[in-house]
């Protein structure tokens, strides 16, 4: 292939896509078997995940090699930008499904179960003792069985102005540090670039650490689990998927950090950095949504 940057770079046939496909296939087969209670499934799942990691490292090293060889023209760069932006948009829509579920549950289904509006008959005949409150700790079936959640001071379940606030500050600062890293990169100042990146990774890790602590607290002391009704469901699914994204983002920033140390980026040409930075900001914004709607209001 030509390495001039006038023509659009079309890669040679590559084995990574099919390796990736097989890896995902294996992962899902393993996952399915595991969920169906087969121990062997866990093994296959592990192999699948390993294969996914292998694929990513292989694919991305090809990309890095091509990028370093100067194969990517301005136009290719723009393709990547479109690609990354719309990928992030698809992630936004994925979270939108869960936020939508949260709103539906809080605004419609829980009040209905509690007898508001269209839920009058539902409440009267099916869940007479249920009270619609949020966060929901005494679920309709508990109310029906006459069981109360032991935690009555509901607003204090996961207080917004405690660890979550710290986490908000952590993530917001990590948005700042990555921007500072970007500024350093644009001026070709490699040392500050690396330091700011390292700071970002660190903030991400501390965030996840606190999050895990919060989960442990919820499970062990608050009796708030995935199984404890919709409050637990929405809480853990939203924060859980977010935490997973933070972990992925931090990993990516870590890779960018290593590449920065190797001097892969120039002040002009560093899309990989920017793509990851966009992703990090997206994770940040999702957190703000979470903070407001899951913890605060």
């Amino acid at each position: 292939m030509s390495d001039s940057s006038d023509t659009y770079f079309i890669p040679e046939p590559s084995r990574w896509p099919i390796v990736g496909t097989l890896a995902l296939f294996l992962t899902f087969i393993g996952g399915g078997m595991m969920l169906n209670g087969s121990g062997f499934g866990t093994f296959i799942l592990g192999m699948g995940i390993a294969a996914v990691i292998y694929m990513f490292s292989g694919w991305f090293s090809d990309v890095i090699r091509e990028s370093m060889a100067g194969n990517y023209s301005k136009q290719v760069d723009i393709s990547f930008r479109w690609g990354m932006s719309w990928f992030i948009f698809s992630e936004v829509m994925f979270f939108a499904a869960f936020f939508g579920a949260l709103f539906y549950i809080r605004v419609l289904s829980v009040p209905w179960l509690g007898g508001e509006g269209a839920g009058f008959a539902t409440h009267m005949f099916l869940w007479p003792d249920f009270k619609a409150v949020w966060p929901l700790l005494t679920t309709p079936d508990m109310a029906l069985a006459g069981v109360e959640s032991q935690y009555t001071a509901i607003k204090d379940v996961i207080p917004a102005f405690d660890v979550p606030l710290v986490n908000t500050i952590l993530l917001l600062s990590s948005g700042v540090t990555i921007t500072l890293a970007h500024h350093a990169l644009r001026k070709d100042h490699r040392a500050p670039l690396c330091w700011w990146l390292a700071a970002t990774v660190l903030l991400g890790i501390v965030f996840v650490y606190f999050q895990i602590g919060e989960y442990a607290h919820a499970y062990h002391e608050l009796d708030l689990t995935m199984k404890s009704g919709v409050y637990g469901s929405t809480f853990f699914m939203l924060t859980g998927f977010h935490g997973f994204h933070v972990t992925m983002g931090a990993t990516m920033i870590f890779i960018i950090l290593i590449r920065s140390m190797k001097g892969h980026f120039s002040s002009k040409d560093h899309f990989a950095f920017e793509g990851v930075a966009w992703y990090w900001h997206f994770v940040d914004v999702v957190w703000l949504g979470l903070y407001i709607f899951v913890y605060w209001i």
Binding site: T7, Y8, I10, E12, P13, S14, R15, W16, P17, I18, T21, L24, F25, F28, I29, G31, G32, L35, N36, W59, Q75, S79, W82, G83, W86, F87, F89, S90, V92, M93, F94, F95, A96, A97, F98, G100, A101, Y104, I105, L108, S109, V110, W112, G117, A118, L126, L136, T139, P140, D141, M226, K227, S228, G229, V230, Y231, G232, S233, F236, M237
Partner: protein, 530 residues
């Protein structure tokens, strides 16, 4: 394929062997694989439809037990929608978009490969559930909880198959957007894009906005079943209807994801055979965009009977009715394109005309169902089945078939057999109406959908429907024959292929070189819109 059309040898070395397909980064090869896969799935899904129609040929149970019947209905729909129609659309997009906008290939060729290969594996997961304890999914393609939780070991595989499909579609859509936004030849402005390209950009946006929501929805199903969450369980404060909202928030845009590429195809075909420029180009673009936009606000018309508050029912009724307006604009524009044209009726044109008439029939029943109080009666009867098969089979499949006939000479370098093509069209058109029109009657008269056995007053119509189904199914074998024959040889196709054809794809040789436009062509106002 012939090698006659090689102009630039340096760029035209093709990879060989199985590696050419497994590792492909070529939009044409990937497009071909998509199309072959889609055709295969069409036959798999069609075979399931034949099981359905065989069982429904007479009242009483003859061949399959009710559980298996439900699996047939469910998997038929999943296979047809996700395995046949969507891949066919993406396959055509892969083949044609780079040719139409003057690009060398898709923007991200490796990702393109992965989008394709995920599909066969995803369907392997889905179809393997037939051999699992508890059988294949049988809760309807809509996967409503709590029924879907009653599926046995197949359950996680159903969910994961949907995840894989989602990943595939999202990657495909991102690729199309990047290609169209970034790889247009100089002078190919947005308002000069062929309509097929336009409909595909809009479809791609719909995909990126809708598929992740479905992925989220089925993820909640998974956690409800295996991890004790209560999204869809009233006992924990959730609501089974929540899933329906999530599903249809995806599901309604999904039907436009299916239909828009077909609209794009007939917008290419009709001007060619009317020998007249497309009427109202810009209003076509805006109408398509409005359809897509509105499609996010009508989802609950699938849920009128669930007992929504009055305000919701009214809102979704009005929004649904509004979609008829931009769709009407498109229908009228196509009609106006034919008006005072110089019409000939080659097979692609016949199929396009078929779309105009029969899609409209499906659209009319759609508007009827959009009227909430009467939909209380129509809902979940064969009237619905009639509606969506009209919009889907003669509305979309016909469009795709038309596209295949239209571009087949371009792809293979040979003209197809016109006589056989016409046979295919007429047999399909007659049988498809025998197949789906009487469904309106039995639906109105009270036959529910998704039942393996029915009351005797519906017997005669069902027999007729089944006969129509068999004839329609068999007629599709003609197409396979035509395609194979055309690949093997036949009269040489010119570059332009059709007398009235315009567009960059018709400036390339037939078949086009392995790498499309290695040097981008110049596009001018005149060359774009004539």
């Amino acid at each position: 394929m012939s090698d006659a059309a090689v102009h630039d040898d340096h760029h035209d070395h093709k990879p060989t062997g199985i590696g050419r397909w497994l590792f492909s980064t070529n939009h044409k090869d990937i497009g071909t694989m998509y199309l072959i896969f889609a055709l295969t799935m069409f036959f798999v899904g069609g075979a399931m439809a034949m099981v359905i129609r065989a069982e429904l040929f007479q009242p009483g149970l003859q061949f399959v037990n009710p559980q298996f019947f439900n699996s047939m209905t469910t998997v038929h729909a999943l296979v047809m929608i996700f395995g046949a129609l969507m891949p066919a659309g993406v396959g055509l997009a892969n083949w044609m978009i780079p040719l139409m906008i003057g690009a060398p290939d898709m923007a991200m060729p490796r990702m393109n490969n992965m989008s394709f290969w995920l599909l066969p594996f995803s369907f392997t997961l889905l179809l393997s559930t037939f051999f699992m304890e508890g059988g294949a999914p049988a809760g309807g393609w809509t996967m409503y909880p709590p029924l879907v939780f009653q599926l046995g070991d197949g359950f996680p595989f159903l969910i994961f198959a949907v995840h894989l499909l989602g990943i595939s579609s999202i990657m495909g859509a991102i690729n199309i957007i990047a290609t169209v936004f970034n790889m247009r030849a100089p002078g190919m402005t947005f308002m000069r894009l062929p309509l097929f390209v336009w409909t595909w950009i809009i479809t791609a946006f719909l995909l990126i906005a809708a598929m992740p929501v479905l992925a989220g929805g089925v993820t909640m199903l998974l956690t409800d079943k295996f991890f004790g969450t209560a999204f869809f369980d009233a006992a924990g404060g959730g609501d089974p209807l929540l899933f329906q909202h999530v599903f249809w928030f995806f599901g309604h845009p999904e039907v436009y994801i299916l239909v828009l590429p077909s609209f794009g195809i007939i917008s290419q075909i009709i001007p060619t055979f009317a020998r007249k420029p497309l009427f109202g180009y810009s209003s076509m673009v805006y109408a398509t965009a409005s359809i897509a936009f509105l499609s996010f606000f009508v989802w609950a018309h699938h849920m009128f009977a669930v007992g929504m508050p009055l305000a919701g029912e009214l809102f979704f009724m009005y929004a649904t009715m509004m979609i008829a307006v931009p769709t009407g604009v498109k229908i009228f524009n196509w009609t106006a394109t034919m008006w005072k044209g110089s019409m000939t009726f080659e097979t692609p044109m016949l199929f396009a005309i078929g779309v105009l008439f029969m899609f409209s029939i499906g659209g009319f029943s759609g508007v009827m169902m959009g009227i909430t109080p009467v939909d209380f009666q129509y809902h979940d009867t064969y009237f619905i089945v009639a509606h969506f098969h009209y919009v889907i089979v003669p509305g979309i499949i016909f469009g795709i078939i038309g596209g295949i006939y239209y571009w087949l000479p371009k792809w293979t370098g040979h003209m197809y057999d016109e006589t056989l093509g016409k046979w295919h069209f007429w047999l399909s058109t007659i049988s498809v109406n025998v197949l789906f029109f009487p469904m309106h009657f039995i639906g109105l008269a009270g036959m529910p959908r998704r039942i393996p056995d029915y009351s005797t007053q519906f017997a005669d119509w069902n027999a007729i429907i089944s006969i129509g189904g068999i004839v329609f199914g068999l007629s599709q074998l003609i197409m396979v024959w035509v395609v194979i024959k055309c690949i093997r040889g036949g009269e040489k196709a010119t570059d332009e292929v059709w007398e009235g054809a315009h567009g960059l794809e018709f400036t390339l040789p037939s078949p086009p070189p392995f790498h499309s436009f290695t040097t981008p062509p110049e596009v001018t106002e005149a060359s774009a819109h004539s």
